[in-house]
């Protein structure tokens, strides 16, 4: 049983950050949805708010860590150009995918969308974390702001999920070794 340095970064980027992100999103969206006066006592609100700040703050931090590690650590290995005349492309995932018609779309559609759309997630998640941190318990009285935050939060999740799912398929087709 062996895992290379590059594979371990792939696991950190995709699997560990991905799992933590999913966990943080679940906690955040439930906390945000239940931030309603009819659901909470004053004591409950205080306790809930502290937890919510941790969930959404963690989610934003995890998404930033994911896109930065993806763009500047894993992606350069993915897009590295093989030497002239190389026939074994297994160490060059982008070139490997593009070398076969039945896998080329994994790069042309999958990777092209993943690498760009993923960056919407940290922006949207940070906005949500900031507004929750600033407004705190006042959000209970601000249904319009809560609704906008939930929309941003879901969009952050969806964009990250698109990137994550595409990443899993691309890694299956042409892993970074």
């Amino acid at each position: 049983m062996e895992i290379t340095f590059r594979e371990s970064w792939g696991v950190i980027h995709g699997l560990i950050f991905g799992a933590l992100f999913l966990l943080a999103f679940s906690g955040g969206i439930v906390g945000l949805y239940s931030l309603r006066p009819e659901f909470l006592t004053a004591e409950g609100l205080k306790e809930r708010m502290g937890r919510l700040k941790v969930w959404v703050g963690s989610m934003a931090a995890i998404v930033w860590a994911t896109v930065i590690s993806g763009t500047y650590i894993v992606y350069p290995w993915y897009r590295a150009k093989p030497p002239e005349g190389a026939t074994d492309l297994s160490a060059y995932p982008r070139s490997l995918l593009l070398s076969m018609p039945n896998t080329a779309e994994w790069h042309k559609f999958g990777m092209e969308w993943k690498e760009h759309v993923a960056w919407v997630a940290p922006i949207a998640a940070t906005v949500v974390a900031y507004v929750i941190a600033v407004y705190g318990q006042q959000l209970v009285k601000e249904p319009k702001i809560r609704k906008a935050l939930m929309t941003f939060f879901v969009i952050a999740f969806v964009t990250a999920a698109i990137a994550g799912v595409l990443g899993a398929f691309i890694t299956k087709a042409a892993p970074v070794h």
Binding site: R79, H116, V117, W119, I123, Q138, E142, I155
Partner: protein
């Protein structure tokens, strides 16, 4: 008896709108890089990551500048939150559209 001071909605509106602007910038950078090859090449700020490094850095800078400007303008104001939140979500969705390959490939330069 205590009076509660509520934070005006301007801070939230500024953060949301700036987020929309940041996402739209990401979409614009992606599409423009495909449409104008010299533009894409100019965004190659970190060679191992290619033009993605420039596209994402520009998007983050535009987002933060927009946030600083709007946040400063609206920090003590109540603004038309519904309208601004709607614009922010539309910008966010347009940004996602700009990163969608079947969309930006419509503008690919030969």
């Amino acid at each position: 008896m205590t009076t509660e001071t509520l934070i005006k909605n301007g801070k939230a509106a500024a953060a949301l709108l700036a987020g929309g602007i940041g996402a739209l910038t990401m979409g614009l950078m992606t599409t423009l890089s495909e449409a104008i090859s010299s533009f894409g090449a100019a965004l190659n700020w970190y060679k191992p990551a290619g033009p993605l490094s420039g596209k994402t850095t520009v998007a983050v800078i535009v987002w933060l500048v927009a946030w600083a400007v709007l946040g400063n303008q609206w920090k003590d104001k109540d603004v038309d939150f519904d309208k601004i939140a709607m614009i922010a979500v539309v910008l966010l969705l347009l940004g996602i559209l700009g990163t969608f390959p079947p969309f930006f490939e419509l503008f690919v330069s030969e």
